[in-house]
């Protein structure tokens, strides 16, 4: 935030005199209700069964989010105020800045500084080359992500674009994930019905990665896309505990993977009746391996076997709760994933259903939704169900079911 303010101040003076159009203001207010049912299976459920309150479980909540947007004179701002009340908790208010940046054009280059959303790559459910923003995918409601502090230089001509980004320049080198300081670059080339993208990134501690992506409109109704990233390292979590050994501290600690590849292939098909099908398959070599998950399941079984034994139950519960840390090891739980989404735009209505499958353990996430768009008001409602065989990861995540309803008023 401090970086964004300083960068903004530096660019504001130079941008203000450019006369880049009158300021524009807009925004939205979104009351929403999320009904979450905690999972009765999995290590977290077992932990809280042994010792209630040892770890927070998914709880239902209501919230009102107010988003304000302003652009003009080379400046951009998006801010969000959220008031949220979880079941059994008091009303809490949070505010954050999604974007606050200044832009300036000089010598045919566009320069930006501040906090900004910079989204790259071509996929829907997974974007291996979204190396700057690293946006969370498959959210239940469309949300404006929180941008990253950055310095950016871009050059555009009719069919080529170059982008160079220094992201998180003031953050410590040890920061992980999307907070890691890094230098990233993208080149884009339009070639008729094909868009080509090339990517490169050097992270302060994850090192280099390179990537490429394409999107090809193959016919009137079919679009194909693919993305590949090769990386030296990725942030992950590893456990130094095995079997039913009781650990004194959380055995899941930050670590780096070795060389890994991430790849995605997908297609969309849309017909005249506005029915649309999206299908994607991807491999994420930075996710925990099948062998690591087998060990995880074995440890869960071992710890569960201690229930009722002379072992201290608080320690067993704590160790079971720590096992849930593995869900945060990487963007994807399993390395191989399949995704399909069927949606239909019928006048103001948009029903949709999607499913994510993990073939390694036959886990699944099924989401059904219905949207209605008026002139100023949009209403969304839906239901997401996690499931699969007992040892499937998606059958053991903290939430079993999430229902939601939201109304968005735009101004």
């Amino acid at each position: 935030m401090r970086f964004a303010a300083v960068a903004l101040a530096l660019t504001a003076a130079s941008s203000a005199c450019m006369g880049q159009g009158a300021p524009e203001f807009s925004g939205q207010v979104r009351p929403q209700w999320f009904d979450q049912q905690a999972n009765a299976a999995g290590p977290l459920a077992q932990a809280t069964g042994l010792q209630p309150g040892i770890a927070p479980l998914p709880a239902s909540y209501g919230a009102v989010e107010t988003e304000l947007r302003a652009t003009g004179h080379g400046l951009g701002f998006i801010g969000t105020l959220q008031q949220q009340r979880r079941e059994g908790d008091r009303l809490r208010s949070h505010a954050w800045v999604n974007e606050l940046y200044g832009s300036h054009e000089a010598a045919a280059w566009q320069f930006s500084a501040g906090k900004k959303i910079v989204g790259w790559d071509v996929g829907y459910a997974f974007r291996p080359n979204d190396v700057v923003e690293q946006e969370v995918r498959r959210t239940l409601l469309s949300v404006t992500p929180e941008g990253r502090p950055l310095l950016m230089a871009e050059h555009f001509d009719a069919s080529t674009a170059w982008s160079f980004v220094l992201v998180n320049p003031t953050k410590p080198r040890g920061q992980i994930g999307a907070d890691e300081p890094a230098l990233a670059a993208r080149v884009y080339q339009r070639d008729g019905s094909v868009d080509w993208h090339g990517f490169a990134r050097v992270g302060a501690h994850t090192g280099p990665s390179i990537g490429a992506a394409l999107a090809w409109v193959a016919s009137e109704s079919v679009e194909l896309h693919a993305s590949l990233r090769l990386l030296a390292h990725a942030d992950t979590l590893v456990s130094d505990a095995s079997g039913a050994t009781l650990a004194r501290t959380n055995p899941w600690t930050p670590a780096r993977t070795g060389n890994a590849a991430q790849a995605l292939a997908g297609a969309t098909w849309t017909n005249e009746a506005q029915l649309s099908l999206l299908a994607e398959a991807w491999w994420d070599g930075s996710a925990l391996s099948d062998a690591q998950w087998d060990d995880w399941n074995a440890r869960n079984r071992g710890l569960a076997a201690l229930i009722g034994s002379p072992a201290p139950m608080a320690a067993v519960a704590g160790n079971l709760a720590w096992q849930a840390s593995a869900f945060n090891a990487s963007t994807n739980l399993r390395r191989a994933n399949l995704f399909a989404r069927l949606s239909w735009q019928f006048e103001k209505w948009q029903p949709a259903v999607d499913v994510l499958l993990t073939p390694a353990d036959r886990g699944r996430v099924v989401t059904g939704s219905l949207g209605w768009q008026g002139d100023r008001v949009r209403v969304d409602a839906g239901l997401r169900l996690y499931g699969g065989p007992a040892e499937a990861l998606l059958a053991q995540v903290p939430a079993r079911r999430i229902g939601y309803v939201a109304a968005t008023w735009s101004f």
Partner: protein, 256 residues
């Protein structure tokens, strides 16, 4: 002999109609919506239900640009940048470069390649809003003369087929005023040759038209809704080449 003369006369008259220069007719008709190659047009869409009650309203800023290129490169190319201005769609942008289309949703800041079918989504498809000329995209014949319009007048009836695949309508039956070649009405057919919409054009001065002020589209495929496309303001404007780069969609162009 008299019959033969009459037949020859009719044939000659018919040939005269058919031999009219269709490209020149279309260029003349285009001038009523696109008075210049490069324009900024403020457009308002009002959708009405079959019973006439208002359904929805949208505002758009359209930068319609003509890219001049050689015949070897496919001839001149339409380029349109559409900025959605209504509260419900604010921040959405669609870029059309000939047969290629991109969409940017607000918040994502990530331009997305879309197919021609995805461009059709919505009551007034983006194609209806962004396409304001026919001469570069259609070829055809003058099939005859009719009476059409309100008040009724002599019209030329043109049957047009698309010369490229990315246009919203693959076939158009178009009626132009015989005297001034202003567009009067059109039947618009999609890829499957179904009649999708019927269009009527409202002129600024019916007796001496200079510009189309509105286009009324009646949906024939699904809901029989009527969409009124009103051209609120037009001005000549050539935008920088960079604005028509799909990756530039993530930036905010100055509208003036």
């Amino acid at each position: 002999m008299k019959k033969l003369t009459l037949f020859a006369g009719l044939a000659l008259a018919s040939l005269t109609v058919c031999a009219q220069d269709v490209p020149a007719l279309l260029k003349a008709a285009d001038k009523y919506r696109m008075s210049s190659d490069n324009m900024q047009v403020e457009t308002q869409i009002s959708v009405f239900n079959a019973d006439g009650t208002p359904d929805k309203e949208r505002r758009y800023t359209v930068f319609a640009q003509q890219k001049h290129q050689s015949l070897v490169d496919g001839g001149n190319q339409h380029q349109s940048l559409v900025l959605m201005q209504s509260p419900a769609e604010k921040g959405q942008k669609v870029l059309m470069l000939g047969d290629d289309f991109w969409l940017l949703m607000p918040g994502s800041q990530r331009p997305l390649r879309i197919t021609p079918m995805q461009k059709l989504l919505g009551d007034a498809s983006t194609g209806d809003i962004a396409t304001m000329s026919w001469a570069e995209d259609y070829a055809g014949t003058v099939t005859g003369e009719d009476r059409c319009g309100e008040p009724e007048q002599a019209c030329l009836h043109l049957s047009l087929s698309a010369t490229r695949k990315g246009v919203t309508y693959q076939r158009i039956e178009l009626w132009l005023g015989k005297a001034k070649h202003e567009p009067v009405k059109a039947d618009l057919y999609v890829q499957s040759d179904k009649l999708a919409k019927q269009a009527r054009f409202v002129m600024d001065k019916p007796a001496a038209p200079t510009a189309v002020t509105a286009m009324l589209l009646r949906d024939q495929l699904t809901n029989k809704k009527e969409t009124q496309v009103r051209y609120l303001a037009r001005k000549e404007r050539t935008v920088p080449e960079a604005w028509l780069n799909p990756m530039f969609l993530a930036r905010s162009p100055a509208l003036e």
